[in-house]
Symmetry: C2
Subunit: 156 residues, 2 copies
DNA sequence: AGAGAGTCCGTTATAACATATCAATCCCGG
DNA sequence: CCGGGATTGATATGTTATAACGGACTCTCT
């Protein structure tokens, strides 16, 4: 799994691909990909950066899609629950999933300088830590792995 | 490194040891371990659970040690900066360090049922994930590893 | 002693993030 | 057409965190 986000790429294509994959996924699963939900995903997709709920809200409001916090939080809950977006705990913010369609346990690389967020694979972290948890009798239900630091561009 | 928190242990001793280690550490480093700061650490030490700033505040207020949010946040910042406590991002809460004095990169096992938090070693997670970050050109400055699940007692 | 710097603390106000609740609407199968 | 489930609208509130300013104390240098 690559760490999309720090690599330069055709981002318009990246957006289009993700949206069509999301459409297909929701159709398959019988999920209602409503205008609010779709637009929130589009807004998140604009950049590979995390956005707070209150960053998203004004855009939604301008477009007449709802102007109160619950509207955006409900949409974000839907996206997160269905794997279309992820919540970044370190930032209290949300980001579109960069690996839509592929089952994955995300880990995040967060640049403290430019705020870009790349998505990597947390399975890579599980090995010995998973063993340690098992030895402690702990049942892992959710892993949060977030690495803060400097992306290649900002380190240079 | 053991995962203190889920094991039964002499907790009064656990508290006393940690406080005296903290006293010694602050003396060595020339840090001012003021009454507010010490009391906040004591409050955190009462249980191996994470507490929010606003859980701590009333106790402080009752004792005349400050009744406004900045008081407790400043104390928590001090404790976290100096390694005497850790912030749990998943819970927006704080916990006393269970491995005071030993250099460590903590990972947390958080029971969603009883809210106990155990501290394990995040180095265990670094191996292949660290490689992946390096390949992406990402410089890790801070790791947040938090595992939510069920502790042995609650799983039974 | 007095001036200046540094650190900590008290206080007010506000920012930022998130949810509870209830009513209205839409949509689809029976 | 009707009923139930999901979604949305709207108001209010709850929770977490910081900005900003001034006062108290201590230490140091002159
Ligand atoms: Zn892209
Ligand atoms: Zn960067
Ligand atoms: Zn620790
Ligand atoms: Zn438990």
């Amino acid at each position: 799994m690559s760490t999309i986000g720090f690599h330069s790429h055709n981002h318009d294509q990246c957006i289009a691909d993700t949206l069509s994959t999301a459409d297909a996924h929701c159709a398959e699963e019988g999920l209602q990909f409503t205008p609010v939900r779709r637009r929130v995903l589009e807004i998140l997709l604009a950049e590979h950066k995390a956005m707070g709920a209150y960053d998203i809200l004004p855009t939604l409001a301008d477009e007449g899609l709802g102007s109160q916090p619950p509207v955006v939080y409900r949409a974000l809950d839907f996206l997160v629950k269905n794997g279309l977006a992820h919540r970044i705990e370190l930032l209290n913010a949300y980001i579109a999933c960069a690996h839509l369609g592929r089952a994955h346990r995300p880990a995040f690389l967060i640049c403290r300088e430019c705020k870009l967020v790349a998505e990597a694979d947390a399975e890579l972290a599980r090995g010995r830590l998973g063993e340690a948890a098992r030895e402690a009798g702990f049942t892992i239900e959710r892993m949060v792995v977030e690495l803060e630091g400097l992306c290649p561009a900002c380190a240079a």
